[in-house]
Symmetry: C2
Subunit: 765 residues, 2 copies
């Protein structure tokens, strides 16, 4: 755990230069706009420790997989998000001395991520080795209004000298991924243009032929006027730049405005890339940095208006929740249904930027409540579009029908190869079914089921039908050889969560079928024909539901995580010597596997999803058994525990878990934020507040709240969109205030009592 | 399955040229002498498909491991047997045409592995592209009397022309391993000398600094006389050779004798390598090819006298058993206690030539019965010498005391990294304990226990003490998270075999301790002090023995392979669609894992080891349950089943299993012999005959036989060494003849009746 970030309501602030934490800061201060993302690398040359990263959404590379022992069914490649052209670069040389903070004395360093307006701002004074001092003021953002646009205002002021300066804005595509096999570089040059006014660089990936066309223009001002400078073009393989030479005058500000457009072949044909890019660049250039920033800030203002959570009385919690919401909104805007939410977003390379079950299990609720309905709908359609590939995946594992979605994917194909995960962590199929339910339950959009949802549900149900087997010994259906959400168990039999979510999927599929048969028979019939669905299949599903085996501990009256869990030596995390934590960095894998310690919510994940089906006592007994055995070494763990603890009115536990999820990256809890922020778990932070402390659920088409407030909070408030209404909930120590800010009259429930609120009216309870 | 090898009593014969099976033949026709091994590559250039392989025992390389997902406790490297200097090479160019069988018309090709005398012989007629025809007659062997010596007699006879010929004997160290990461080459040149009479080439490995000094001399004869030729030296990086130019005359034989010495820094210091090599080379050269071959054949004759098994009435079975015995004797002579028996011996690179539990579980009995006692003793001392490393390995996995031997090793360190094997296949510790028992039981050498054996047993017992845990739920000790001998199950709980062999290890250790306390207290006391062994430990071991949990199926009255085995869908191999076999080439890993199919003996392995503790009915019930579920996809599987089937008097099953193990490589059953022969399972073939059909066991210090003979055999006979006696057993349809060929009077048991046989006398029963 590391605490060097200053607490502030709307800003993330680093004061003083921390070269030892540069990679960490580069992650935390990342900027993005759903189309691209940029780590908080310095514009100027930096020879210190750094992880350079510029990423374009949906541009990936199918790298060779590295594995010692191949198994049938493994994918041939691993999809990774590519480090793309470095478009932020601006080198500075003053009287022959290169500006490199690793070699300067750095004073008054301040880096601010302005979350309210969505930009990164860095100011500092650097004393060069030759004792010249300059002030740097660098501001940049990637635009929320023109998605291809990245803009930089880079200012230099000499403090103790006049001198010659070379300022070199450039585009450099000669980059690599740190985790590439054999240090391979993934880009080749296609085209470049260079002139004193700007440049174009088009690259393509060695596989899949993604093209990225980057274009830049710049303005150089001195004392507020266009500067006198000479320009010397520089071209290298995959590189274009321009040396701008001018004389700096003491105390006078010289400002470079760098305007960049990054357009990819995902959006434009090869022929269109350059003309489109040029016209976008001209548009942005003409508008100018300040006007573009105003538009951008206005767009952020709108986002905040929809998704902000305000906390009074706990600045640290306030900053953290906004950081989480900010990063989520930077990562996924939902405008492009081909995209999804990678675990690290655009803040690092790890996990390949791919799609995991995180999206359905943890991210969907945030977008359901804070974004236009089409955005969560697009997240679901993403999986619908991968249905054929999921069926191929199931076939590859020997199942003649049904669909098994991949554990990790970029384009619908599996791209992970640990057998215990790839082949066995099949509960992901359950989360995808649950997301369909969750979306329809929240939005009431039953048309989605007709067009897309039921088809997915049927193929998921078919998979479960094949994957269970009937055990004569137990006279029940069992599911053997799985890895549950708790990845600190591998290849177990009858993981309660997996058995339950499988059975629930069958139940929900049958429920949707029955209702669609009754309400929209033609739609159902056409699907039945398309999928050749047989009555015998439905009968089989009912039989599985009826005879599914669930492991339990009768003595404690709890669900058992899996067969044999009680054979383990039963210990509690609080009794562990702290120097063993995190276990995954200290224990060998077999020791972790045979210990009772749990990585993340497993039985409790099921009780969270299906909480309306279990009474509070059941949830409490299971929570009290499992939580003390849980080490929360997945970033996805604390949020589920925070929500359940709030439901059980255990405010202290809920608050502790909330802090763990909310400040995970800001305080570097797991000592791995340098690789990138934990984006998908940030949605869990939002859930901790809204579903946890707010107790928000949609039950039988109705919005319900069961609020609790942590002792050290004065109040908290959040807005949610719900079926055409915009609702603001404010919870104080003494009252719950619900305002219907927009939309029709609405009836909702607070602590079990129904209230009807007219449009633009509020109630206080 | 591939059958192109001609059946013959003493020879392996390939008739006709089979370039499509060249790699397979290269494996099968390999030669070796325990110090080095050589695949049956051609001496002359060959551009067809081939796996070039020359291996020096104990010379290995610590290559980087390739793995996708690292786990704590994995080794940093993988030890692999190195492909070493190609010392057999003799290039032939005739009137400018290179002899390359891939480009010639090949007639009368015949390759013979003469097992009786231990050499490889190849004859053929090649028509070169220019229509010149030559006869080749090439014979080679690696000497059993001078372990560093390899000798070749290579003869050329032009059949339809006179012509100019260049014959180029060479040593080429510019070789690589096919499975090297990044195609890295592992050798660098240290020294070379070259002259018209011969050459020296010294290389060293890039890591560990193993040196290999190869030296050659040659004689060229034409029509039986020293030839007239010119010599042109060739030197390249890691290469020395000499172009010998002469005129060939039609129908006249030209013969190159190539004498090679390969001496390594394992045996000699760096300074000694060359002088020692030169003196050995001179000695061999002076003696000449024919005299060396006579010595070598005599050595083989002695080996056959000790270890041959004769089978009358079944030539195919006869050939097969001799092939197995021949390859075993080529792989390990037992003279060097630093060596061991790799699964592929010197016939290929796969499995890294390292030591597995195969040695203790399958190979030891062969050497116990056919070799001098010091040889099996050396196999045990090999592990004793690795005890400290095994303790380090246990510590690495979190066990403060005790030893866990590695699954795969070259020098005592683990060098395999699949968690389910490396960390979980801990039953290997049981096989090492069992080998101590087996050796002492067979030889009566209790001094071994004092010097080495008990120390190993105590450290193994300490490991088991730590690795079990007490399950309150079962009120028993359990062993969680293991992989048993059946590697088609991973991370299971309470594998019966593992629990049983663990508990047996504790029992045997306590038995040895108690006897040593009584018989040799000072020896015991000194060990107790050395190991700080406490009485509380012994008490704990007794408690574990008493309360160990063993899974059983009460209904069928069998031992259960592991917890939950009966939850699997129960199917039999005979009902499987044959196109699914072998499963490991057709099914995804998860499907294999959750199926009931068994790779190799698991419960039955335990019943084989501990057969004196179980009655025949118990063995039969378990055999009848497990064998029909076993796919025998490990080469180590059929032998155990053959032995148990013979014990159960199921002659048909025993014979079927015998053929499967005996002709595994000759008939390429598993379609993988091209990678090398399955050396360790060859000892299992020997066991199938001697322990299976011969029913040989040592019970309470006495040699016992319970013979059965397959229906299509007229008779079979074998010799075994037992405590100073050489016993020959001959089993015919009607009689059992036991001859005491050497040693004192002996009392032994046949079918439960004791017989005393005087020296050099026989009995017939």
């Amino acid at each position: 755990m590391k605490q060097y970030i200053k607490t502030d309501e709307w800003n993330i602030i680093e004061e003083g230069f921390h070269p030892e934490d540069q990679r960490l800061s580069e992650s935390i201060f990342s900027i993005g706009n759903g189309h691209m993302g940029q780590r908080a690398n310095f514009e100027e040359a930096y020879s210190g420790d750094s992880l350079q990263g510029s990423y374009m959404a949906g541009v990936y590379y199918t790298d060779k997989t590295k594995v010692g022992w191949w198994k049938n069914g493994y994918p041939e490649y691993f999809a990774k998000v590519l480090n793309a052209t470095n478009w932020i670069g601006i080198n500075i040389v003053i009287d022959g001395e290169s500006l490199d903070l690793a070699k300067c004395q750095v004073k008054e360093f301040r880096r601010v991520l302005n979350m309210k307006e969505g930009f990164l701002h860095r100011t500092l004074i650097a004393r060069l080795p030759g004792q010249k001092e300059i002030r740097i003021d660098a501001k940049r953002f990637v635009s929320m209004t023109v998605k291809e646009a990245g803009l930089i205002r880079y200012s230099i002021t000499p403090l103790n000298f006049d001198g010659e300066c070379i300022i070199t804005p450039y585009l450099d595509g000669d980059v690599k991924n740190t985790d590439s096999n054999y240090d391979e570089k993934f880009w080749t040059e296609v085209h470049k243009e260079n002139s004193a006014e700007g440049a174009v660089l088009t690259l393509k990936t060695k596989k899949l032929n993604f093209r990225l066309c980057s274009l830049m223009k710049y303005d150089l001002l001195q004392g507020g006027e266009k500067s006198q400078h000479t320009a010397e073009l520089i071209e290298k393989e995959k590189y274009v730049g321009c040396n701008l030479r001018l004389t700096l005058k003491q105390s006078e500000e010289t400002v470079l405005y760098k305007y960049v457009i990054n357009v990819t072949s995902r959006d434009k044909t090869e022929d269109e890339l350059i003309p489109y890019g040029k016209s976008r660049l001209e548009e942005v250039y003409q508008k100018g940095f300040d006007a573009m920033l105003r538009e951008h800030s206005a767009a952020w203002s709108k986002k905040w208006n929809e998704s902000d959570i305000a906390i009074e009385g706990d600045m640290s919690a306030q900053q953290a929740i906004r950081f989480n919401i900010f990063q989520l909104n930077q990562t996924y805007t939902g405008e492009d249904e081909r995209l999804n939410i990678g675990p690290k977003g655009f803040t690092g390379e790890k996990y390949g930027g791919s799609t995991y079950w995180d999206t359905e299990a943890y991210c969907l609720p945030f977008y359901l409540s804070t974004a236009d309905q089409k955005i969560p709908r697009n997240l679901l359609i993403y999986r619908y579009k991968h249905l054929e590939k999921a069926k191929e995946n199931a076939a590859k594992l020997g199942f003649p029908k049904g669909a098994l979605y991949p554990m990790v994917t970029m384009n619908g194909e599996e791209c992970h190869n640990e057998w215990e995960i790839t082949f066995e962590e099949i509960h992901r199929n359950g989360a995808i079914a649950y997301a369909v339910y969750n979306y329809v339950n929240y939005t009431g959009d039953r048309d989605y089921l007709k067009e897309y949802g039921l088809e997915v549900l049927i193929e998921l149900s078919r998979f479960w039908e094949e994957r269970v087997n009937f055990s004569k010994a137990r006279n029940s259906y069992v599911i053997l050889g799985v890895t549950g959400p708790n990845e600190y168990e591998n290849n177990v039999n009858n993981n309660w969560y997996t058995n339950r979510i499988a059975s629930w999927t069958l139940e929900y599929t049958l429920e949707v079928i029955n209702r669609m048969k009754a309400d929209s028979y033609p739609a159902y019939k056409s699907l039945e024909d398309k999928l050749s669905l047989k009555e015998t299949e439905l009968v089989k599903w009912m039989d599985i539901i009826k005879h599914m085996y669930y492991p339990v501990d009768e003595e404690r009256d709890i669900f058992l995580q899996q067969d044999g869990y009680l054979d383990k030596e039963q210990c509690l995390v609080r009794d562990l010597d702290k120097q063993n934590l995190p276990l995954n960095q200290h224990w060998s894998w077999d020791r972790i596997l045979r210990s009772c310690f749990i990585k993340q919510a497993d039985v409790l994940q099921g009780l969270y999803f299906l909480q309306d089906k279990y009474d509070l006592d059941t949830i409490r007994r299971n929570f009290n058994f499992y939580e003390p055995r849980t080490v929360h070494e997945s970033s996805l763990s604390p949020c589920i525990h925070a929500i359940l603890a709030a439901k059980l009115k255990d405010k202290e536990k809920a608050y502790g878990m909330y802090l763990k999820t909310a400040r995970l990256d800001l305080d570097n809890y797991n000592n791995d934020t340098e690789d990138g922020c934990h984006i998908t778990s940030m949605a869990g932070t939002w859930m901790s507040v809204v579903e946890g402390f707010g107790g928000m659920r949609v039950v039988e088409e109705k919005l319900c709240f069961h609020p609790v407030i942590p002792d050290n909070w004065k109040s908290f408030s959040f807005r949610i969109k719900f079926r055409g209404n915009l609702i603001k909930a404010t919870i104080t120590k003494d009252a719950v205030i619900i305002k219907n800010e927009n939309g029709q009259k609405i009836t909702l429930s607070v602590n079990g009592t129904d209230y009807t609120i007219d449009s633009e009216k509020a109630i206080q309870i």
